[in-house]
């Protein structure tokens, strides 16, 4: 009988997360923790959390963390980076935080080429408040504030963050997904490249990650992953949208 490999928990995770079953946040946080461990920068990383489900990160990620007011994570993070330029500074935000209430801060963090990395988990709903429509909710998608499905005549088209930020010439920018193992590994490589670009002083970097919210999508975890692979990536194409000057 083959030896069962013991489950490895990244050094930068200090406690089990408290997200809903099937939530994508735990996976994304694990990827961040693995990258921090591999780069051996857990003592040199400062994270800024948003308001919403992302703030539960406080209870699981073993790095210095600040929780900012709703939408302002990138402003706070940019200030931290300016004060402590030798540290890796990241934000961990949802789509409601970074693309709705915080869209101005997101845009101007990119526009000023602040040398931070924004990690934006896009699950297309406001999770913590119970599944309301967010800027990235797909057309036709039912939420508690779009019960007949998102109507573009009423709410406009879903916001494509990569398109919005592209013109500011980020050092690194990519959109990944975590709906299956190959994409999970790809998403991890994006995070690693973004951190590397920051540490090389190249400028602003951003990684958006498509992630499931089974609770508010009213789907099983498996159905949620399938929905991303079949539906969500059609509207939000994956890949690297900016690779910096030296890469």
């Amino acid at each position: 009988m083959a030896a069962v490999k013991e489950r490895e928990i990244p050094r930068s995770i200090y406690a089990a997360n408290s997200f809903c079953p099937g939530c994508g946040h735990g996976l994304v946080l694990r990827l961040i923790a693995e990258v921090i461990d591999e780069m051996d920068i857990d003592r040199d990383t400062i994270g800024v959390l948003a308001v919403g489900c992302s703030c539960l990160t406080n209870r699981t990620l073993a790095i210095d963390l600040l929780q900012s007011p709703h939408g302002r994570a990138s402003a706070a993070a940019a200030a931290i980076k300016r004060c402590r330029p030798e540290k890796l500074v990241l934000t961990y935000q949802g789509d409601g935080d970074a693309a709705s209430i915080g869209i101005a801060e997101t845009i101007y963090t990119a526009q000023r080429k602040e040398k931070i990395t924004q990690i934006i988990v896009n699950n297309g709903v406001y999770g913590m408040t119970g599944g309301q429509m967010s800027p990235t909710t797909l057309v036709g998608q039912k939420t508690t504030t779009s019960v007949k499905g998102r109507d573009p005549e009423v709410s406009g088209m879903p916001l494509n963050l990569m398109e919005v930020l592209k013109s500011f010439e980020p050092a690194y920018m990519a959109r990944g997904s975590i709906h299956d193992a190959p994409h999970i590994m790809k998403a991890k490589s994006y995070i690693k490249k973004a951190f590397a670009a920051q540490m090389a002083g190249e400028g602003y970097s951003c990684v958006e990650i498509l992630s499931p919210c089974p609770t508010n999508w009213h789907m099983t975890p498996e159905e949620s992953m399938r929905r991303i692979g079949e539906e969500v990536i059609q509207y939000y194409p994956l890949g690297e949208f900016a690779k910096g000057g030296d890469q």
């Binding site: 857990d42 400062i46 073993a62 600040l66 900012s68 007011p69």
Partner: protein
């Protein structure tokens, strides 16, 4: 050495002298010179200046900088100060030191860009949500802009709290002779609680958020908050007394209005009227000790301030403990010395209506 400086510039230079090395803000009259001055001065001393896209970003960059232990400041006026309130509440909840300047203008909404004292309630009563309090200093001269800005940074760190400088358009725009003290060096690494990357003291990393979450047992948070604000209230009241010993009527006024009242006291005394003045230097904590000291002997207080309906007068009435309180809200024009003396005559004659 004395030098002639505009109030806003002096305040900005005082921040540099206090060791402030981070400023983030947005233009708005009549505070813009603070932003302009620091845009060139901060880089000269190795600091960070950011002209932000909004006041929201400004206050939240200050929050981030404060979390790293840097001395950080933002400034605004009226409408822009409103936008900062959410951030001030968060900074209070996280118990971070920061200095926020409001160079007050006049009026509601857009109001007017001219001088005024319209933001007393907002600064003193906790303009944001949740019932926090901040120390509030009210300078009445360019020199006091310097002195209280430096004090504000020290007090912000002593109590780990945001501190507000409630200046006004007149103090900000006037030029006066000032004496600048020696500058201080600030070490952002001197506090163990600041974000700097985790270490052996915090093996799981620092978790900087509303202190209600990690730092107190369920039943210990409220007593902590009460103790915290009680200590500031007891220890930090500051005021100036002018001719109060034998005063029959005492004017209560701060900032630019107190300068008119000082003249009124002198003029009244020349005519044999025993007028005095209490000038709050801290607006929170309001110098209730000064009122408690005088309200047994004085016949009346007259609150003079530069807004439409009176704001500070409510605190005067609160601490007058039954002594009659009258109001002279001078509205959009600066208080008039002759009008003060006329109202004092009315009070003495018993023909003036009490404020409440």
């Amino acid at each position: 050495m004395r030098t002639l400086m505009k109030g806003n510039n002096a305040l900005a230079e005082a921040a540099i002298l206090a060791g402030c090395r981070f400023f983030a803000g947005y233009p708005i009259t009549p505070q813009t010179e603070i932003l302009e001055y620091l845009s060139t001065r901060l880089p000269e001393v190795g600091g960070q200046f950011v002209q932000t896209e909004s006041e929201l970003a400004g206050i939240n960059m200050v929050l981030g900088a404060a979390a790293t232990g840097f001395r950080a400041m933002t400034s605004s006026s009226g409408p822009g100060f409103s936008l900062k309130q959410e951030g001030i509440s968060y900074i209070s909840s996280m118990e971070l030191p920061a200095v926020i300047v409001d160079v007050m203008r006049y009026g509601i909404g857009l109001g007017n860009i001219t001088l005024g004292q319209g933001d007393y309630f907002q600064a003193v009563k906790g303009g944001g949500h949740g019932g926090y309090k901040t120390l509030v200093y009210a300078p009445s001269s360019v020199q006091e802009n310097v002195d209280y800005t430096i004090l504000a940074f020290d007090k912000a760190e002593e109590y780990r709290t945001p501190v507000i400088i409630l200046s006004d358009g007149a103090i900000g725009q006037m030029a006066e002779s000032v004496k600048l003290p020696e500058g201080k060096e600030h070490d952002p690494n001197k506090f163990e609680w600041t974000l700097k990357g985790k270490d052996d003291t915090y093996p799981n990393g620092r978790k900087m958020t509303d202190r209600i979450y990690y730092d107190f047992k369920y039943t210990e948070y409220d007593p902590h908050i009460r103790d915290r604000y009680s200590a500031m209230e007891e220890n930090e009241q500051m005021w100036e007394e002018v001719e109060t010993e034998d005063a029959e009527i005492i004017l209560v006024a701060y900032g630019i209005t107190s300068r008119v009242c000082r003249g009124a006291v002198k003029a009244a005394r020349a005519n044999g009227v025993k007028l005095g003045m209490i000038r709050p230097i801290t607006l929170w904590p309001f110098p209730k000790k000064a009122l408690h000291k005088t309200n047994k002997t004085v016949k009346a207080y007259l609150a003079v301030e530069m807004n439409a309906c009176g704001q500070m007068v409510e605190d005067v009435a609160l601490y007058a403990q039954g002594t009659p309180v009258y109001a002279y809200p001078s509205g959009r024009v600066i208080a008039d010395q002759e009008e003060i003396l006329r109202i004092v005559d009315e009070i003495r004659a018993g023909t003036r209506k009490e404020a409440f």
